[in-house]
């Protein structure tokens, strides 16, 4: 097994678990019955601890053990999850997160990290009062087996009997790692390896596991914890747990069922302190007297063995069954989600793109061949290709809700820091975006939200004075809007102060004295680099390095950002992003002897120019009473030659802007793959990519937003 790869998986999963844990922590404060969330948190830390143990990451195990213990107390209602405790656990979550990140640099914990961890643990200790047995496993780390008092001759420890299946080593499990891990749960009082199964000489296969051991462990961990330790080998191996203070009969049963010689096993148990020598003699005699069915126990599930041995009291059985059911349900749910590497997905989308083009070519050739059956066959293929296309592209879509939810934590932390109470409302969380867009949106949104909290929403006294509610509201909204995605961040704070902005702009020489600016233009000033009207710089914002970067990021996504503000009432920032996927439905038009493609979802309608022409001089058309600007592709692209007598107009819409694009010919709808044009053509305004037609020719895809904006600018 590739340990590095496994560790990478561990890191990814640990982060997911931490994410779930954080979500639960934030949700808990508002819940009447937080039991489910508490369980979720506990499970998250527990799983991380367990997995870390398998990799021998002692520092993480050590830290998470304390956190887990505290959460366990909450779970068993010995501790209430108060506000300060939630904050502390959140800090522990952050520390765990940085520890996991630190794994990329190596397993050893840095001294700073260690100090931080110890500090957090000491703050957790008061919450662990009255639980002396669960103190930090620092005392029971790896090397402690030799330390401490000699084993008490009582049945005070758990007895664990393990016979590992032959494939355990092949599956990447190391019997010794279990011993180590058990060592962190308590004190190993006694350990006897069972080596009888090791074959001699040529029969010995180094990759097969012949090992087993009998181990006595003094611990306060519960049965479930101990069982979970062996989770990965449970199916192949025979693991039996006998709780402390069990009756002799159980040990006897154990001795009977294990394949090795009875006396020998008995002696091991005596050595471990599970039974006394007298008990051993007794049971051996019993054995000789009774008929003994003997034989090995082959491959029974641990749960079944325990239940049959009656080592588990009935109420616990019921709980166990319940848990099993939940586990199965969870497994079923997990199966519904498959983790896929991002580059495999990209490759798939690329291939689908090529398929779309090839399909188009086949269609053209089939039409030329005039073979009816050929035509029908290619039609069927193209339909299937379309379906595959939609599904493949859908794979890359993620809900923006994930990103929005991350802000809950930020809003909470920041508002506490600022001493404001702010409520976060999220709408449209199910709106789906391409994965890459979502990732790039994170930083800009973060900045805008921080601005709202820091500068937008006023402190409580100011709000009261203005007659507003004490709690400020921040709304995150996402929706689809005619071929683009609209994301809004609104707050009911103080709005942008126009006077202040103008003053600052004047100060910085961005505008001239006495210049008059519209509201929109005034607001756009805040996008200038280094601009900030904040009087005080907090560690969040006010440095003036934010909004220009935000706008640049949005530009890179070929989107645009606008501000809607009203002084005293609040601000709404709108980000509009085009839904440019790799494969789009396009509408082909012709100008000169070249073809151009307009994204279909921006097309409203197509008309003849003649009847709708309002003014050639001002480039306006009259669409049933609505006057719209138009632009002629021939003019924009300086295409030589005369336009045809009968020109066409394609009316397009982007956001709330509409315009007409005048072309020579209309061809029709078709599916196409967007091929980027490369750095060489980045500066060209009006072209957003290229595509390959079924005929093999290249057609240029029009960048409608750019074209519309330039048409609108001319009219103004």
């Amino acid at each position: 097994m590739d340990l590095d790869k496994a560790k990478q998986t561990f890191i990814i999963e640990a982060h997911e678990l931490l994410g779930a844990m954080e979500e639960s922590l934030l949700a808990v404060e508002g819940q009447a019955d937080p039991a489910e969330s508490v369980n979720a948190m506990f499970r998250a830390v527990h799983t991380i601890k367990g997995s870390a143990g398998l990799f021998g990451l002692d520092a993480i195990v050590h830290f998470s053990h304390t956190v887990e213990t505290a959460l366990d107390r909450v779970r068993s209602h010995q501790l209430i999850l108060s506000g300060p405790l939630v904050s502390l656990v959140l800090e522990c979550h952050d520390h765990l997160s940085s520890m996991i990140d630190g794994l990329q640099q190596g397993d050893a914990e840095s001294p700073d990290s260690h100090a931080e961890g110890e500090a957090l643990i000491s703050r957790l200790l008061p919450y662990l009062e009255g639980h002396p047995g669960a103190e930090s496993p620092a005392g029971s780390a790896l090397a402690t087996r030799a330390k401490g008092t000699p084993p008490e001759p009582e049945r005070g420890s758990w007895h664990i009997s393990a016979r590992f299946g032959p494939d355990v080593l092949r599956n990447g499990m190391d019997p010794l790692s279990f011993v180590r891990f058990l060592g962190t749960l308590g004190r190993i009082v006694h350990l006897s390896p069972i080596l009888e199964s090791l074959p001699q000489g040529p029969d010995f296969d180094p990759e097969t596991c012949y090992l087993g051991y009998e181990l006595d462990l003094e611990t306060d961990a519960d049965r479930q914890t101990l069982e979970d330790v062996f989770e990965f080998v449970r199916d192949d191996s025979q693991i039996r747990l006998i709780p402390p203070h069990s009756k002799v009969e159980e040990y006897v049963q154990l001795i009977r069922e294990l394949p090795e010689e009875d006396r020998q096993l008995g002696e091991i148990l005596v050595a471990g302190g599970s039974i006394t020598a007298k008990d051993l003699e007794q049971c051996l005699q019993l054995q000789r007297a009774e008929a003994y069915e003997g034989g090995r126990v082959q491959g029974r599930l641990l749960g079944t063995i325990l239940i049959e041995e009656q080592a588990v009291p009935p109420p616990v059985i019921a709980a166990a069954l319940d848990k099993q059911k939940k586990f199965q349900e969870r497994q079923a749910h997990d199966l519904k989600v498959v983790k896929v590497q991002a580059d495999k997905l990209d490759k798939l989308v690329d291939l689908v793109g090529e398929l779309v083009i090839a399909g188009a070519t086949a269609k053209v050739l089939a039409a030329l061949s005039r073979d009816g059956r050929m035509l029908e066959s290619t039609a069927v293929i193209n339909n299937l290709v379309e379906e595959i296309r939609d599904t493949a592209l859908g794979l890359r879509m993620v809900q923006i809700g994930e990103t929005f939810n991350r802000f809950r934590r930020i809003v909470r932390d920041v508002s506490k820091e600022m001493g404001k109470t702010i409520e976060l409302e999220i709408h449209g969380a199910e709106t789906e975006l391409d994965k890459s867009i979502v990732e790039k949106l994170n930083d800009p949104l973060m900045h805008i939200v921080r601005n709202s909290i820091d500068h937008g929403i006023e402190p409580m006294e100011v709000r009261r004075a203005r007659g507003k509610s004490d709690t400020g509201t921040l709304v995150l909204n996402a929706s689809h809007e005619s071929g683009s995605i609209l994301i809004e961040v609104s707050d009911d704070g103080g709005g942008l102060n126009r006077t202040k902005i103008l003053a600052k702009a004047l100060e910085r020489g961005l505008i001239a004295e006495g210049a008059t600016l519209s509201d929109q233009e005034a607001c756009s000033l805040i996008f200038e680099p280094g601009f900030s009207t904040a009087d005080a710089i907090s560690n969040l914002s006010g440095r003036g390095v934010g909004m220009d970067v935000v706008r640049r990021n949005i530009d890179e996504l070929r989107g645009n950002i606008e501000i809607d503000t009203e002084e005293g009432l609040g601000t709404t920032i709108r980000i509009r992003l085009p839904l440019t996927l790799a494969i789009i439905d396009g509408f082909r038009v012709g100008a000169g002897n070249a073809s151009y493609v307009i994204p279909l979802d921006m097309v409203l309608e197509c008309l003849d120019l003649g009847p709708f022409l309002e003014s050639e001089e001002h480039h306006l058309i009259n669409l049933r009473g609505e006057v719209l600007p138009f632009l002629r592709l021939r003019e924009i692209f300086q295409i030589p030659g005369e336009p045809p007598s009968r020109e066409r107009v394609v009316v397009v819409e982007y956001g709330d802007l509409r315009a007409g694009i005048v072309v020579d010919k209309l061809y029709g709808e078709f599916q196409t793959v967007i091929k980027p044009l490369g750095n060489l053509f980045r500066q060209v305004k009006g072209i957003g990519g290229s595509t390959i037609l079924g005929s093999g020719d290249v057609a240029l895809i029009l960048d409608v937003p750019q074209l519309i904006q330039s048409a609108a600018a001319v009219t103004r």
Partner: protein
């Protein structure tokens, strides 16, 4: 007749390194009656001239784009880039597909040439530095002058000639008309 050549770049590179920096291989082609050559390591393939799709508002040296097995590749007229005349399309006109750029950012481009002749084997000793004057080409475009069979061949520095940043900035200067 122009043959369709597909050079195995790695093979070419291996060959040149085996020859221990002593001899380099250069693809010779003619442009406007003059013979030039360029290092074969940048050359991906040579194809016959096919239909170009023109891209509007581009400086004239960018003739357009072509469809190269599904990839859209821009084609540059080297003659115009050198400040000379438009390249007329004849039966022998070819497009040489190159890969230029640094290790982080490579770009695939095509250049139009009148015809492609042969692969020249030129040793380092036979290469002289670019002349300070005399050639009507910008000096930074010339990597050196090679001597082959008594004749002189101008060796081009492909990365400079086809510097994407330079060409992109020229593109920006071209008026993007309204």
């Amino acid at each position: 007749m122009v043959e369709l050549m597909k050079l195995n770049k790695r093979q070419a590179q291996a060959m040149t390194t085996v020859q221990a920096e002593q001899r380099g291989q250069y693809l010779a082609f003619s442009l406007g009656g003059e013979t030039f050559a360029m290092d074969i390591r940048s050359v991906k393939e040579v194809i016959q001239f096919t239909a170009l799709t023109e891209v509007p508002l581009m400086p004239t040296f960018i003739r357009g784009v072509i469809n190269l097995r599904g990839a859209v590749v821009p084609v540059i007229d080297l003659s115009i880039r050198f400040g000379r005349t438009f390249t007329e399309v004849t039966r022998r006109t070819c497009i040489v597909i190159l890969e230029v750029g640094s290790s982080e950012e490579t770009c695939v481009l095509g250049i139009m040439v009148d015809n492609v002749s042969e692969v020249l084997d030129i040793g380092e000793r036979d290469i002289e530095p670019a002349p300070a004057f005399g050639s009507n080409l910008r000096s930074e475009f010339i990597a050196g002058v090679g001597k082959v069979n008594g004749k002189f061949v101008i060796l081009l520095d492909v990365n400079r000639v086809l510097s994407v940043e330079e060409m992109a900035s020229l593109t920006a200067e071209t008026p993007a008309g309204k």
